[in-house]
Amino acid sequence: MPQTIRKLFLPTAISLLVVAVLWATSLGTLPSAEFTFNNGTEVKSLDPAQVTGSPEGRIVHALFDGLYRPDPKTLEPQPALALSANPDEILSSDGKTYTFSLRRDAQWSDGTAVTAEDFRWSWQRLLHPETASQYHFVLSAYVVNADKYNAGIVDPGDRVEIELPDRPRDLQLYPRGTMLSGKLLEIQRPPLADLLRELSDDEKAEQKRKWIYTVQVDGQQRKFSQQPPAGQDVERCLHVLLNFNQVGIRAIDPYTLQVELKNQTPYFLYLMQFYVTVPVNRECVEKFGYPDWIRPENIVVNGPFQIEFRRLRDRIRLKKNPLYWNKDAIALNTVDALAVESSTTGLNMYLEGDVDWMPSPPSEVIPQLEGREDYHAMSSLSIYFYRVNVTREPFDNPLVRMALSRAIDRERICRAILRAGQEPAYSLVPPVLTNYVAAEAPAYDLEAARRLLAQAGYPGGRGLRSIEILFNTRSDHRKVAEAIQQDWQRLGVDVRLRNLEWQTHLATTRKMEYDVARAGWIGDYPDPNTFLDLFVTDGVQNETGWGNPDFDRLIDRATREPDAAKRMQILHEAEEIIMGELPVLPIYFYVSINLVKPYVNGFFSNSQDLHPLPSISIDPLQKKKLVK
């Protein structure tokens, strides 16, 4: 090693260190926002067609305006882009067609008007199979032909649209390639090589890509396939879908949107205030593509706020949108949504005054927080329950399930273990839905449970194999599982606990490799159906192996029942069935807890834990007093 290098070494090392330290300390300071809240985690996406969780929903609702917005207190739909929420004005006499008149003063942040066509296009994007939206059911389950379009189902005789494989950018869904429209004449399905066994869903989808569609396009017969066979006269296409004109979503004129439903849906307006139904700006999406259109420098919005900047896992800074149609009603100029994941850190920041609203404080400190002026607790539209795998012995016997359910002391779990105001659950539908009377499973009774178990052929638990409770790793879940383990041991049942990390837990439950598995469900809209229709036979969310034709029939009948009171009665009967057979064991109803500084106005507790930012304001005098 040359002497010069050796001589230069120390000065170089020291100067490097100094430069590094200077760089590390050269941070610009960030002025705090007018209102700061903890959003709980980094949002997965801000594309309304992609998101699923409530942290994402809070931001999407701040950026985009849909037809309706929930009232911050009652959650009743309030007109946003639609002019009226009065059924007499917007609903046809048969209760199946909504005609929404849109306000004319709404505009995008690039200055163009928000029109009915924006809704039509955005909903087409939401429903398009390639978008893979998990919440497509908000439209596809209710709107005429929307499910057919979404699932890519076409029948001979249908008007169809065909997309040719010439998209400007391969990986982008929009702008699409050349679109042809025509009438489907025939579908040729390749002969199934192996009919002896049932094909899996994946294999069926693979097969479907080879179907050959004969379509009448402009007077010519042409053949298309997603995977055309070699050597034949078949053109390759990306999709053959039902022509979107056939779907019950129509832009009658720039300010009139018409939606035709399959059945009367009393809660349809609640769905229309769901964040997935907001329109997005076509030009912006097509110009930048996904995900670049969401970048703060590109995104075009129509809601009360715009993104000023987004720092991953730190914060999203929102600023008031000067072009918002109702900008005078928006009190806040800047809002910070922090992505603090640790609830303890979040609590520290709240107590220090860095954060004005903090949802879900750590459960350990709730007894100390209860009763404070800034503590808001409210029973929520969500349930904590156990799934029971009814395909496995001994759970195939309803008596065993009933015995297990009656042996769970839910009162003790809520009062002694959770201690944050949770309500013991004996039904699937939470009591916060006031227009519905839940059907309850029999209450806690250890003697009755013992008798039931004996009746099932296992007196004192003799002859019963040991049961495993599966839960995802979290101390609260463990405590609940241990309490239930003790309860069941009193029946003479041997119970083991197994915890799995979250993703593995989900996969294991999905594959039905469990005895009893912990689960939770948050209602998507304030109606019993959001809890009950999970458990229709072979339903995607069922995962218990349970099915009951009477139950399925009732759920189906309820969707077609026009009379609201009768409909609730039918759903009640359906719940009676499931609570009589107990493929799921309800444990407790969640409670939503928020810490909100007293100087924050316009914040209300409600069953869906929705707190729209537009209605929030800060009382500066009170804030000053409190900070002093």
Binding site: M1, F9, L17, A20, V21, W23, A24, T25, L27, T29, L30, E42, K44, S45, L46, D47, T52, P129, E130, T131, A132, S133, Q134, H136, A151, D170, L171, D201, D202, P291, I294, R295, R311, L312, R313, D314, L338, A339, V340, E341, S342, T345, G346, N348, M349, L351, E352, D354, E501, W502, Q503, T504, L506, A507, T508, R510, A519, G520, V540, Q541
Partner: protein, 317 residues
């Protein structure tokens, strides 16, 4: 020296490739995929997502595709290109690519790491030297007691105590967050303290060993002042163990710490090491692992060069 660097570069590529391959297959061997959530998705939705992210392809094809992108020879569409490595889109943080996520997080982790490391180095070296020179005095005993405690105390506990003391009891610093220099004081202290402790111990041991060597005695015999003997001759030799410790330590500290980032809500890359794996965000997990490998390897090369500089007996080969 040039030959040394070239050889190291070849080994570097081999190491990266091995790490890539092992992590790629290990991650996919774990049950559960990136697109599973509490709400079950229908097959069609799942397939569309899997097609978009190419998870439906056979494993070897995915491997070739991702390796090509990471090596900078394949574009996202699967066509040939030459350019900067592309680690692909993140499966969980959907609006960003892995490159963008790391580009946003690494400076945060690095600046915190630099401060913590500087603190650790300065305090550790000074304490270690003092302890070795005042061997078995009260200064030595208390420094070593502190150092042992500093190493034994887990940093989440230390962070908690610091928050209670300096945020709530004595409101000197903000509780958490990122935005000004005062936000960094507590996390840098909590992150740097164990390093300071370790460096102090290493320096002390190194010094004690060197101080008994002949060339030090010779230096004293020549009549050199004590300060000069220690700073010019003894310290160089005593630093060797510290330098070899610093290599991996720097890599670890620059790429972020899960615990400190969580407790102080800092948006560095440390949390991704655990979260990406838990959420089966294959590409992001791969990204942080590769970045860590690169930094670690570079640091080790620098350590080797430092050895040759500090100790004339060592030759780079």
């Amino acid at each position: 020296m040039i030959r040394f660097l070239i050889r190291r570069l070849l080994w570097f590529l081999l190491t990266l490739w091995t790490v890539f391959t092992v992590s790629f297959f290990l991650m996919r061997a774990v049950p559960g995929g990136p697109f599973e959530g509490e709400r079950n998705t229908e097959t069609a939705v799942k397939q569309a997502e899997e097609r978009r992210y190419r998870i439906n392809q056979p494993l070897y094809q995915q491997y070739a595709y991702h390796l090509g992108m990471a090596a900078g020879v394949l574009s996202e569409e699967g066509k040939f290109r030459l350019g900067f490595p592309d680690l692909g889109p993140s499966y969980r943080i959907r609006d960003y690519s892995v490159n963008q996520i790391i580009a946003q997080g690494l400076p945060v982790s690095a600046s915190l790491g630099i401060l913590a490391l500087t603190f650790g180095l300065v305090v550790g070296l000074v304490a270690g030297i003092i302890a070795s020179l005042r061997r078995q005095s009260w200064a030595d005993t208390s420094v070593m007691l502190l150092a042992t405690t500093g190493m034994a105390v887990p940093n989440f506990w230390m962070a908690g105590i610091c928050i209670i003391l300096f945020v709530f009891m004595l409101p000197l610093f903000p509780a958490a967050g990122w935005g000004s220099l005062s936000h960094l004081v507590l996390p840098a202290f909590c992150l740097g303290a164990p390093y300071a402790a370790y460096i102090a111990r290493l320096t002390r041991t190194g010094m004690l060993e060197v101080l008994h060597q002949d060339y030090i005695r010779t230096a004293y015999a020549k009549g050199l002042p004590a300060r000069r003997v220690i700073m010019r001759h003894a310290l160089k030799g005593a630093l060797l163990p510290v330098v070899s410790f610093l290599g991996p330590a720097v890599a670890g500290i620059l790429t972020g710490s899960l615990v400190i980032e969580k407790v102080f809500h800092l948006s560095g890359t440390g949390a991704y090491f655990v979260e990406a794996a838990l959420q089966r965000d294959y590409t992001l997990a791969m990204g942080v692992v590769l970045v860590y490998t690169v930094v670690l390897y570079t640091m080790n090369v620098i350590v080797d060069i430092c050895y040759a500089v500090l100790d004339p007996r060592i030759k780079l080969q």
